[in-house]
Point group: C2
DNA sequence: ATACAATATTCGTATATAGCGATGCACGCA
DNA sequence: TGCGTGCATCGCTATATACGAATATTGTAT
């Protein structure tokens, strides 16, 4: 029971870690629109192709995206839509923080981050 | 707009990173029951007091827990209940994975992961 | 078979951070 | 005032990983 809990805990931690890189979040966000190949994503992320491949491999390893080959092209797409649930929850929090900070600064909160 | 997006993205990534350590998840889980002081948590986590303090500082820095002093004692408690929403979503996924694995192994799946 | 294109992997470097022991600091008490 | 307790911080080591350049791999076409 304890061992299982430890494994489960490690699993959850790893899952969150997969979401803890801005580039990977950027990739997930780009895939929100439609499936994309590595070249496309490389351009969108603005980093090396090697790095893009590695980030995608990380996301795939954790089941967040799936990979499919079409000729020499590798097409990635979202495999687990719950990712967006997670992000939305965190973003809602972010919006609240921004609002709080804006209040502290005396700004009129610009109606941003409206989901 | 791009700069703001980058900041927001980094923020979200940092938030997930705060959740990407088993010990911190353990601490959050312990705080689910009730507020606790550092000594208590140190014992529950089974690590050094220094390490516990650092993990708690990380969680507090990201607004997940709050700190309050009572004499020489520091009491931490959950500041952001949405953490549990996040964990439940990931755990639901875990359960599904387990179920899928069990199915592959020919086990009768315990009717879980219903969402 | 050869050449080319798209992707994956390897290698090296730089940075972050988990972990511990030792130390610092603030508070309450004798 | 001096002491002990509880927590935070520092110094350090070990490990993980983001990143780019170079190289390997895979698939396609000629």
């Amino acid at each position: 029971m304890k061992a299982l809990d430890d494994r489960a805990l490690a699993h959850v931690a790893d899952y969150f870690r997969a979401l803890s890189e801005p580039q990977r979040l950027r990739a997930l966000n780009a895939l929100r629109e439609r499936p994309r190949n590595v070249s496309e994503l490389t351009e969108l992320l603005g980093c090396s192709q090697a790095n893009t491949s590695k980030h995608l491999a990380t996301l795939a390893r954790h089941g967040l995206v799936s990979r499919r080959s079409e000729g020499t092209v590798a097409i990635y797409e979202i495999a687990d839509p719950r990712v967006y649930q997670l992000c939305d929850i965190v973003c809602g929090q972010l919006a609240q923080n921004f609002a709080a900070q804006a209040r502290l600064l005396g700004h009129s909160t610009p109606a941003r981050s409206r989901r």
